[in-house]
């Protein structure tokens, strides 16, 4: 899901940088209000986890590969804005040092993986918390389902961004969304989505059993659905 340089035209790249500026601003503002110095190492480890998790490429039945992001787990533990910061840092290092995801496409990649994914998963987890009585079950199942839906939605956005290029800015990615959206959706509905969902649910279940304090961290995010 890491859009390389040259796939998006300059207008699209600028657009997503501009969209991300207020999101990054709000993430830092909320973190300034709610982040505690004792939880900073937790955020650092979660950001590192996201980076490592993305190195595990999984085979997709169509011959391509896909990977989880970890944004749903970070969102469930520390809130969606914390996930925005953690995944943004991971994407930045990937782009600068490893050429994974472009510098010009960095805004778009952050929009998909550091915004759409964690906010969607958080919304869905909170929906489960509203409906289910058992807080623990709601968190584990809600975050897992949220991870599955969130990463798939992020992938569809990624497909749209590259797939509109031949129509809005010819000269960049030549393949239309008729190709890119189904390909991205398929990879994440079948493999990368289940990976994101299952890992999110398993880690949360493990933490509930052995380190439940991690479930009580203050969430850095907006109140969504009153949760």
């Amino acid at each position: 899901m890491h859009i390389p340089d040259g796939y998006l035209g300059p207008v699209t790249c600028a657009f997503f940088y501009i969209v991300m500026v207020p999101i990054w601003y709000l993430a830092f503002k909320k973190a300034r209000e709610k982040l505690e110095s004792r939880t900073v190492p937790v955020l650092a480890v979660l950001s590192a986890f996201s980076f490592i998790f993305m190195m595990f490429n999984w085979p997709i039945p169509d011959g391509t590969t896909g990977h989880g992001v970890g944004g749903a787990l970070i969102s469930a533990l520390m809130g969606p804005y914390a996930a925005t910061i953690a995944v943004t840092v991971a994407l930045l290092i990937q782009a600068i040092f490893f050429g994974d995801g472009g510098i010009t496409a960095f805004g778009a990649n952050c929009f998909n993986m550091a915004f759409i994914l964690p906010f969607t998963s958080y919304l869905i987890m909170n929906l489960f918390k509203k409906v289910m009585k058992d807080e623990r079950k709601a968190t584990v199942i809600g975050a897992a389902v949220g991870g599955y839906v969130g990463i798939t939605l992020a992938a569809i956005f990624c497909g749209l961004e590259i797939g509109i290029q031949p129509f809005v800015e010819p000269g960049y990615c030549p393949y239309s969304f008729w190709l890119s959206v189904p390909a991205m959706a398929f990879a994440h509905l079948t493999v990368a989505g289940p990976v994101e969902g299952i890992v999110t649910g398993l880690v949360l279940e493990y933490l509930y059993r052995y380190s439940p304090d991690y479930l009580k961290l203050e969430k850095i995010g907006p109140k969504i659905l009153g949760v």
């Binding site: 899901m1 890491h2 859009i3 390389p4 340089d5 040259g6 796939y7 300059p10 973190a31 300034r32 209000e33 709610k34 982040l35 505690e36 110095s37 900073v40 190492p41 955020l43 650092a44 480890v45 950001s47 590192a48 980076f51 490592i52 190195m55 595990f56 490429n57 999984w58 085979p59 997709i60 169509d62 011959g63 391509t64 590969t65 896909g66 990977h67 910061i85 953690a86 840092v89 930045l92 290092i93 782009a95 600068i96 040092f97 490893f98 050429g99 994974d100 472009g102 510098i103 010009t104 990624c158 010819p170 000269g171 960049y172 990615c173 030549p174 890119s180 390909a183 991205m184 990879a187």
Partner: protein, 98 residues
């Protein structure tokens, strides 16, 4: 904290499993592989070349033979994790309540 470091270390040692999946991610091909005319690719290739990452594809340049890409992948994971932890802690220190 020690437990966390052990878990991260194990995950880092396992990352080469991520290289076993055949093929590459959809839409992350080299631009020269695009099925279009050379003139279409020229501007896109210029943009693609504005930045050369020091460790492209999570490997050390030239480490293509035998087990070297797997080792390069692990070294990349270690470098990436160290950088990310340092940057996130720096950002966190600036933002966090005392």
């Amino acid at each position: 904290m020690r437990k966390t470091i052990v878990v991260l270390a194990i995950l880092i040692l396992l990352t080469p499993l991520g290289l076993l999946a055949p093929g590459e991610a959809w839409g992350e091909w080299s631009i020269e592989d695009w099925n279009v005319s050379e003139s279409w690719k020229s501007v896109a290739e210029k943009i693609a070349n504005i930045w050369s990452a020091p460790l492209p594809d999570y490997n050390l340049p030239g480490w293509e033979e035998g087990a070297l890409p797997y080792l390069g992948y692990i070294i990349s994971a270690i470098i990436g994790v160290i950088l990310i932890v340092l940057i996130t802690i720096a950002i966190g220190r600036i933002l966090a309540r005392k």
